[in-house]
C-alpha cells in the first residue's frame, strides 16, 4: 500500500493495476455486484467487454453530432451556391435554370461530409472530455498505455476496505490507496 494522494472528505483514492483482462472484467463485475459504480476503467486498447459491462450497449451520443453536422453542412453549402448564383445571375446558355440541383449536388455532398466530420470531431472532444488536462493523477499511469489495465476510484467514500478487498481478490497485481 502506498499513500500517494491525500485523503479527502469523501474518502481515499483507490487505484488497482491489472496484468490480465479476465481479472479486470472480474473486478468490474464484483464491484458492480456490490453496488459500486463510481469508478473509471483504464485500458491500452478498446475492449467491447468493458464497454458492454459499463454502458450496457448504449450507443455513444456522438452520432447526433454527426447527423446535425451533415444536415447543417449540406443545407449551408447548397444555400451558398444557390444564393451566389441568384445574386450574380450569369447568362446561362441553353436556358438552363439559375439554381440547378445536379451541379450543386457536388458541393452539397462535399459540404455534408466536411461538416459532419467537423461536428463528429467536436462531439468526440466534448464527450471524451478532451483535452483532458485535469484527469485525476491516479489515472496518469504510463502502464495504462502500455500493457496494463486499471480501475480507479477517485473517492472511495466510506467503503474503502470493501473496495480494496474486491480489487485484490479479483486478481489485481497492485492496489494502492491514499
Amino acid at each position: 500500500m502506498s499513500s500517494s494522494h491525500a485523503m479527502g472528505a469523501s474518502g481515499a483514492t483507490v487505484k488497482a493495476v491489472y496484468k490480465h483482462l479476465d481479472c479486470l472484467l472480474q473486478g468490474i463485475h464484483d464491484l458492480q455486484h456490490a453496488g459500486l459504480k463510481d469508478f473509471t476503467v483504464l485500458s491500452p486498447i478498446p475492449r467491447h467487454e468493458i464497454d458492454e459491462m459499463l454502458y450496457k450497449g448504449e450507443p455513444s451520443p456522438v452520432r447526433w453530432f454527426t447527423l446535425a453536422g451533415g444536415i447543417l453542412g449540406g443545407t449551408m453549402i447548397f444555400s451558398l451556391a444557390s444564393l451566389t448564383h441568384a445574386n450574380w445571375p450569369m447568362i446561362i446558355p441553353g436556358g438552363k435554370p439559375l439554381v440547378s440541383i445536379p451541379p450543386f449536388l457536388v458541393v452539397t455532398f462535399e459540404g455534408t461530409i466536411l461538416w459532419a466530420s467537423m461536428f463528429t470531431l467536436t462531439g468526440l472532444l466534448k464527450f471524451c472530455g478532451l483535452p483532458a488536462m485535469n484527469l485525476h493523477p491516479a489515472m496518469k499511469d504510463p502502464r495504462f498505455t502500455n500493457d496494463c489495465f486499471g480501475i480507479v476510484f477517485e473517492r472511495s467514500g466510506n467503503r474503502l476496505d470493501e473496495i480494496v478487498h474486491i480489487l485484490e481478490s479479483s486478481g489485481a497485481t497492485e492496489v494502492t490507496h491514499g
Binding site: 459499463l54 462535399e110 467537423m118 464527450f127
Partner: protein
C-alpha cells in the same frame, strides 16, 4: 500477427525507430532536401519571370503541373481506402500498414495542393479559387468542375487529416509515456490528455467508425470530381462518362503501388517484420491487379467508344495518341500500367521484395504518363488542325516535378521519425489479450 507478441513488446518494437536517425535516414533526407532545393529554385524562377518559362504553347495551357496535380491526388487515394474502407469491412490485413498509408495520403494531397498555386503562375492570387465575393462583387461559379475540385480536394484533405490525427491520439499518448523532458511535454500536448479511460474509448470508437463511414464516399468521389475537370469539357479525348470510374480505379492502382514502394523499405530498415508481412504486400498487389484490370479495360473501352461514336475529332485524337508525336507517352503508359504489372499474376513475383518494389515503381511511372497522355495529347490535338502543336515540358517544369517528389518524401521521412508508423493500439487489438486463464493453463 504472431500470438507470441505481448503488449509491451509491441510498444517497444514500434517506438524503437523513433527519434534516433540512422545514416540511411540522413542520406535520404539529404537527397530529399536537394530535390526540394531544385524544385524551390525552379518555382522561384517561374514566380520572377512568369509562366513563360513553362513549356506552354497555345492551345496547350495544361501540362506537367496539372498532370502532377492529378498524379498526387491519385496517390492520396490508397491511404484512406485502406484506413476507412478496409476498417468498415473489418479487413484485418489493414492494421499493419494503414498508419503509414494514411500519412502518405496526407502528404500526397499536401503535394497536390501546391500545384494549383504553381499552375496559375501568380501564386499569391491563388486564394481567388475560394468562394468569396471579390472587389467586383463577382462570385465563383458553382457549376464549374474546377470549383467542385476545390471543394472536393480541400474536404478530402481536411477529413483525411482529422481521421489520421484521431487515429494517432492513443499512440501519441503511448509515446508520451515513454519519453521525458521537453519531448514528453510536446507529445503530452498532442495527446490531448488521453489516458485510455472507459469514457474516452467509448466515444472514440463511435467517432472513429463515423469518420471511416464519412471518409469512404470521399475516396470514391474525389477522383470522380477531378476527372470532371476534364470530362465536363468538350475537348476530344476528355468528354466521356467513363472518366469517373476510370480515374478512381487508376487512383487506387497508383496509390496502392506507392504504399508498396514506401512500406517495403520501411519494413526492412525498421525491422518491422513481426507487424508487416509479405502477405500485406501481396494483398496490396492483388488490389493493384484488380484495379489495373479495370484500368486496362477502360483504355480499351475508350478506344471502342471513340471509334463507335463516329466522331472524326474524337477518333482522330485517339489515333494520334498511338501514331502521332505522343506515341512514346502512350507506349510508356500501356507498358507500365497494362503489361509489366501482369508479372504480379505470378505468386513468386508478387511475394518477392524485388518483384514488388520494381513493379510498384513502374506502375507509378506509368500512372504519371497516363495523366500526361490524357492532358497534353488531347489539348495538342484538338478540333482545328491549324492549332495542332507539340507541347514538351521545360527544365523548369521538370525541376518542379522533382521538387514535388522531394517535398513528399521530406514529410514522409520526418513522419517516420516522430510518429509511430504502425498503429500501436490497433496492433494490440489483433493480439490475444493477456489472460490469467491462459497462464494457468500453460502452467499446468
Amino acid at each position: 500477427m504472431s500470438n507470441k507478441l505481448t503488449y509491451a513488446q509491441v510498444n517497444r518494437d514500434i517506438m524503437r525507430p523513433l527519434f534516433t536517425p540512422t545514416m540511411a535516414w540522413h542520406g535520404l533526407m539529404a537527397l530529399a532536401l536537394l530535390g526540394l532545393a531544385i524544385g524551390g529554385v525552379c518555382w522561384g524562377i517561374q514566380l520572377v519571370w512568369g509562366l513563360g518559362v513553362a513549356g506552354y504553347h497555345p492551345p496547350v495551357f495544361w501540362g506537367v503541373y496539372i498532370t502532377t496535380f492529378v498524379f498526387w491526388v491519385g496517390i492520396g487515394h490508397a491511404g484512406t481506402l485502406i484506413s476507412a474502407i478496409l476498417f468498415l469491412t473489418r479487413s484485418r490485413w489493414r492494421t499493419g500498414i494503414y498508419r503509414a498509408a494514411e500519412a502518405m495520403t496526407i502528404f500526397a494531397v499536401m503535394t497536390a495542393a501546391l500545384f494549383p498555386a504553381i499552375h496559375v503562375g501568380r501564386a499569391w492570387q491563388a486564394y481567388w479559387l475560394f468562394p468569396y465575393p471579390n472587389q467586383r462583387q463577382l462570385w465563383q461559379n458553382f457549376k464549374s468542375p474546377l470549383m467542385w475540385d476545390v471543394f472536393a480536394v480541400s474536404t478530402y484533405f481536411t477529413v483525411s487529416t482529422v481521421f489520421f490525427f484521431i487515429g494517432l491520439v492513443p499512440d501519441i499518448a503511448a509515446v508520451r509515456d515513454n519519453t521525458r523532458g521537453y519531448t514528453q511535454k510536446l507529445y503530452a500536448a498532442m495527446a490531448l490528455g488521453w489516458h485510455g479511460t472507459d469514457r474516452q474509448w467509448r466515444h472514440y470508437m463511435a467517432a472513429y467508425g463515423f469518420f471511416a463511414a464519412l471518409a469512404t464516399p470521399l475516396v470514391l468521389s474525389v477522383h470522380s470530381v477531378v476527372s470532371w475537370d476534364f470530362a465536363m469539357a468538350d475537348t476530344p479525348g476528355w468528354h466521356s462518362t467513363l472518366f469517373p470510374p476510370y480515374f478512381v480505379a487508376g487512383a487506387i492502382f497508383s496509390g496502392c503501388a506507392m504504399v508498396i514502394t514506401l512500406m517495403l523499405p520501411l519494413q526492412r530498415v525498421f525491422k518491422l517484420d513481426a507487424y508487416i508481412h509479405i502477405w500485406h504486400f501481396e494483398h496490396l498487389a492483388k488490389l493493384c491487379m484488380f484495379t489495373g484490370g479495370i484500368l486496362t479495360y477502360s483504355y480499351g473501352c475508350e478506344y471502342f467508344i471513340a471509334w463507335y461514336s463516329d466522331n472524326p475529332y474524337e477518333w482522330g485524337t485517339f489515333v494520334d495518341r498511338v501514331v502521332g508525336k505522343y506515341w512514346w507517352v502512350f507506349g510508356t503508359m500501356v507498358l507500365c500500367n497494362c503489361t509489366i504489372p501482369l508479372l504480379w499474376w505470378f505468386k513468386r513475383v508478387r511475394t518477392s521484395f524485388a518483384g514488388l518494389f520494381i513493379v510498384s515503381i513502374v506502375i507509378n511511372i506509368g500512372m504519371w504518363f497516363e495523366r500526361y497522355n490524357i492532358i497534353a495529347s488531347s489539348l495538342a490535338h484538338s478540333f482545328d488542325p491549324a492549332a495542332w502543336v507539340y507541347y514538351t515540358p521545360t527544365y523548369i517544369e521538370m525541376g518542379i516535378l522533382v521538387g514535388s517528389f522531394a517535398w513528399f518524401f521530406t514529410w514522409f521521412l520526418l513522419f517516420v521519425k516522430i510518429m509511430p508508423s504502425v498503429a500501436i493500439a490497433e496492433i494490440k487489438e489483433t493480439l490475444r489479450p493477456p489472460l490469467k486463464h491462459d497462464e494457468e493453463a500453460a502452467a499446468k
